[in-house]
C-alpha cells in the first residue's frame, strides 16, 4: 500500500515537472520526466508497474496538455513495453550504458509523438523533436540515482 503511494507520488512529481514553466528556447529540450519515471519503475519492478500504470500516467498527461486523449497514453505504453523487453539486460548495465539505451527508447517515443501530433495537424516536422530524448538520456544517471535512493529509503518493493 505504502509503496504504491510512493510510486504514485513520483509520478505526480514527474507530471509537475513536465508542466513547470520554462523559458522559451529551453522549452524545446524539456526532459521527458514522466517517460523517465515510467521507464525506471518498469525496469526496476516490472511486477508492480506495467503497461496499465504507464497508460494511465499518459492519460493524465493528455488531459494536462489538452491534447487528444490517448496520445501520450500510447507513447507511455510504448516506453513501458520497450522497457519490459529490455529490463533484464539493462539492469546489469553501468549507468552510462543505460543512458545510451535510453536514448533510442525515448527517441522512439518522441518519434511516435511527432507522428501522432502531425496526424492531429499541429507540429512542424523538424529534427528538434529528438532534443528532449537526448536531454533525458543525459539526465538519466541522475534520475536513476535519485529514484533508486527513494526506492531504498522508503523500502518500495
Amino acid at each position: 500500500m505504502r509503496s504504491s503511494l510512493i510510486i504514485g507520488l513520483t509520478f505526480l512529481v514527474a507530471l509537475l515537472l513536465s508542466v513547470m514553466p520554462m523559458p522559451s528556447p529551453v522549452d524545446l529540450g524539456r526532459p521527458m520526466w514522466l517517460a523517465m519515471v515510467v521507464a525506471f519503475w518498469v525496469m526496476v519492478m516490472p511486477h508492480r508497474v506495467g503497461l496499465l500504470c504507464a497508460w494511465f500516467a499518459g492519460l493524465a498527461t493528455d488531459v494536462l496538455y489538452g491534447e487528444l486523449i490517448g496520445q501520450h497514453a500510447l507513447v507511455m505504453t510504448l516506453v513501458a513495453w520497450l522497457m519490459l523487453l529490455l529490463y533484464q539486460r539493462i539492469r546489469r548495465f553501468p549507468l552510462w550504458q543505460q543512458s545510451l539505451v535510453m536514448l533510442p527508447v525515448l527517441g522512439l517515443a518522441q518519434l511516435l509523438l511527432l507522428w501522432l501530433n502531425s496526424l492531429a495537424g499541429s507540429r512542424p516536422p523538424i529534427l528538434m523533436f529528438l532534443l528532449p530524448a537526448a536531454v533525458s538520456a543525459v539526465l538519466w544517471p541522475w534520475v536513476f540515482s535519485i529514484l533508486s535512493a527513494v526506492k531504498r529509503r522508503f523500502h518500495v518493493f
Binding site: L15, L16, V19, M20, W55, A60, Y65, L68, S122, P124
Partner: protein
Amino acid sequence: MALTVVSVAFMVVDARLSVLQPLRAQLGMFLMPIYYVAELPVRTWGTVHTQLTSRAELINENERLRAESLLIKRKLQKLATLTEQNVRLRELLNSSSLVDERVLVAELIGVDPNPFTQRIMINKGEHDGVFLGQPVLDATGLMGQIVEVMPFNARVLLLTDVSHSLPVQVNRNGLRAIAAGTGNNEWLELRHVGDTADIRVDDILVSSGLGQRFPAGYPVGRVVSIEQDPAQPFAEVKVAPTAQLNRSRYLLLVFSPESGYGDLLPALSLEADQDAAPIVQTPAVSNETDEAQAPVGGQPDAQ
C-alpha cells in the same frame, strides 16, 4: 496490445466526436491543481516582491498611475459624448446599436508546456460562465479565444498559434484581411494580401467581427514589414500583435453579444438597453470588486 487499441480508439473518438469531453473535464478538475503548484514559485516571488517593494518605489508608481488615470479619464469624457453621438447616428441610420461588452477578469495560471503550440491556462471556467470560443483580451489588445472549458479552468488558444487565424481590417481604410498565426509568439502574418493593396508599415489592424467570433474594433496588431516579391502572387505582410501575449498575467474575457455564442447567455439581453452609460464596464460575475481590483494589486510582477 489492448491498450494500444484503446488509445487509438480514444484518439479517433476524441478527434471526431465530443463524447470524451466529460471525462476530460472531470480528470482536468483533479489534475489542474498541478498547474497551480507548478506556478507556485513564480507566485511566491510575486508576493514577496509586492511585500518588499520600497516606499519610494510605491510612491513613484502611485504618481505614475494617477497621471495615467487622469489621462484616461480625459479620454473617457470625450468617449462618452462620442458614444452617445454614435448611438444616435446609428439610430438615425436604423442600424443595430453598438452594445458595450461585459468583461470578466481572469488570471493566467499556466502556459502550455508543448513548445509547438501557443496556449495558456486561466483560472476561470464553466462555473464563471466561460464558454467555448469566447474572445480573450488583455489591456492592450486581442489575445485569443477559449478552446477548452473545464469546471474551474479554461484553455486559451493564442492568436499566434499555427492553427489560429482571424478576420481583421486595417484601421486606416477598412481593408479586410485574414491574420494567421505563425507559431512564433511575436508574429502574425496576413494571408492573401495583393501586391497592390493599400497597406503600409505601421498600419494598425483591428478585428473586423466578420468571423462572428471576435467583437469588432479591438486592436490586433501593427504592421511591421511588407515584402513584395514579384515571384509570389501575394505580398508577405508581417504583423506584431499589440497584446502582450507572453507577458500578460491578467486577461479579460469578453461576453459579447456579437460573438456567436453570446446569445446563449440570458443576462446579456438586459445589457442591450443600456446604451446611455457604456463607460463603466462591470465584470459579469458577482464577486466583481475583488476581481476588478486584482490587476492593480498585481501590477508590480506584470512589469
